[in-house]
Amino acid sequence: MEQSLSLRRSLSLEQKKARLGVQLVLPSVIVIGLLIIYPVAYNMYLSLFKVNLVGNNTFIGAKNYINIIADATFWQSVLTTFLYVVFSTFGTTLFGLVVALTMNKKFPLRAIVRSIIILPYVAPVIAVVYAWQFFFDPVNGIFIHVVVEMLGLYDQRFNLIGTPEYAIWVAIVFSIWKSFPFTYLMIIARLQTIDNNLYEAAEIDGCSSWKKFLHITLPELYFVLGTLILLRFVWNFNKFEEVYLLTENVKTLPIYTYFKAFTGVMDLGQGSALAVIQFVLLIGLIMVYVKKVLKW
């Protein structure tokens, strides 16, 4: 009798907790549902219409998609996106790794250096792009001064950011600069958890530093690196500001979509269709990556 009473009480306590749990999380869930989940669904719906900003939409079926696929500039943009994402992702990861390995060693002023090198990640994109543009500016920039005047590699000053073939490489270097601190922080956190005994044992066996890196550090970092590449891949695939604000000449998919949807005739329907294609492409690539590399 007494037992069942206490059982009932504890059950109702559990229920009470569960109810409170739902109540507390509900506002967040509603906000995310209404402003993320619903818009994604609505976006798919819109992609089947000719969309007017005010007034009624006209159903046109798959026409938006057909128009996109028939457009050569779209495929150009897909290619640009791949180049940008692949090189910036690997560049960032590689450089982040080098920095993490360096910062893991002791040297004077390390604490200051460590906080200084995070600045690129913290500063607003808009506040740093103009310094980069100035650096490559054909008239005033230091880069051109060094390449043309000092080294004499080219006999004429040129506009690096203004030319699409070159601008993409500037965008890639910029992306590496902007996001390597994040990669470095994640890697160094993992580095510090590696058991020191492993290295000592390897030293007794007479391993060189390179061998230690290859057989101890790298396997320990495998999962972190795999995850970082995945995250960076997703983020760079969706990246808008870092590319658009630096140069409008590199038309990756998000920028291509922005131009289609918000400039000129403002074709929101086609913009939605582009966003859907982009999303499907991203999901597909992620599935391949997760299966082949992370082997989940």
Binding site: L24, I36, N43, V51, L119, P124, I126, A261, L282
Partner: protein, 320 residues
């Protein structure tokens, strides 16, 4: 020989550190240097300004004297019509004021503060309760929500931009200033909420449950425990999450550019900076000074929470 090899290694290591530091800092040095240079000095590759020029900063902060550039006809008009009141005169002159209007730093700064503060505050309040719920309380669907939060990272800004814009126009929010402010703040809240939930959830899980149990024994209710135990214990984490959300909103450009396009009064710093760049007043020293002034607040904020932020980033709670 051994000493030489050792020296070379040390020197190489030193060069590597120098390179990393220079690579990270160079754009900031460039920015500072150009913001202090006179225009005749821009083409000079030296980073040290030949002569320091703080005109750009004074201009942007509205400290400089306003230069009045009156066309002759207007000057004549003013001279020949003595019956104009002082107010009317000022109004006419104001049309020809040279500075201040191009990049009203103070106004954009306040707008940025307004958007970022309110978004970060709302996001923090929602996420304190939400994160407590998903990290401490078990209920049906709690693990689904916990995992679902991470999935939200997959959606890029551009995927949500079109439908959200369309919705806000359909609701009539886009047609008034107040409505636009509300819409954009809500959007920033949503952008920062998943990060906040995730970071705080991770932190709450690290607080020993026994502390809470002690509070229950003392007769505290669940809500009282949150107020009296959890929140005081996590002030540093709360500050970190707040700053992180604040930074996301402060740095945001894409949504602001679409929602605020026709409301110049509401421009945030990133929008104002972009407008300054494409305007006829695109003068490098002013652009760089404006860049500095936009970057400094977040850099200072960041310095305060740096320690905690780095730890939190490493535990996986992030979004770009």
């Amino acid at each position: 020989m051994v000493i030489l090899v050792k020296f070379c290694k040390k020197f190489g290591f030193f060069l590597l550190i120098m390179f990393i530091v220079l690579f990270s800092l160079f754009p900031f040095i460039q920015m500072l240097s150009t913001s202090l240079k006179y225009s005749w000095d821009w083409g000079n590759p030296s980073l040290m300004p030949a002569k320091i020029n703080i005109e750009a900063y004074r201009d942007l902060l509205g400290l400089g004297e306003k230069k009045v550039d009156l066309p002759e006809s207007i000057q004549n008009l003013l001279d020949e019509t003595p019956d104009l009141t002082e107010k009317q005169r000022d109004a006419i002159i104001a049309n020809y004021l040279d500075t201040g209007d191009v990049f009203p730093f103070g106004k954009y700064f306040l707008n940025s503060i307004l958007f970022s503060l309110s978004a970060a505050a709302v996001s923090l309040i929602l996420s304190v309760f939400g994160a407590y719920s998903i990290s401490r309380l078990k209920f049906r669907g709690s693990s689904f929500i916990r995992r679902g939060i991470l999935f939200v990272y997959m959606f890029g800004g551009i995927l949500l931009l079109i439908p959200l814009y369309k919705i806000s126009v359909a609701l009539g929010l886009g047609s008034t200033e107040e409505g636009t402010v509300v819409a954009l703040v809500i959007i920033y809240v949503v952008q920062t909420l998943p990060v906040s939930l995730y970071m705080l959830g991770n932190f709450f899980r690290s607080i020993p449950y026994s502390i809470e149990e002690a509070a229950y024994v003392e007769g505290c209710s669940q809500m009282q425990t949150i107020w009296k135990i959890i929140i005081p214990l996590s002030l540093a984490a709360l500050a970190t999450v707040f700053v992180y959300s604040f930074m996301i909103a402060w740095n945001e450009y894409l949504y602001a550019s679409v929602f605020l396009k026709s409301y110049e009064n509401l421009f945030t710093l990133p929008l104002g900076l972009k407008a300054l760049f494409v305007s006829k007043n695109a003068i490098w020293d002013r652009i760089m000074a404006a860049s500095m002034l936009t970057a400094i607040p977040v850099v200072i904020l960041f310095m305060f929470v740096q320690k905690y932020l780095a730890g939190n980033l490493a535990s996986g709670g992030v979004k770009e």
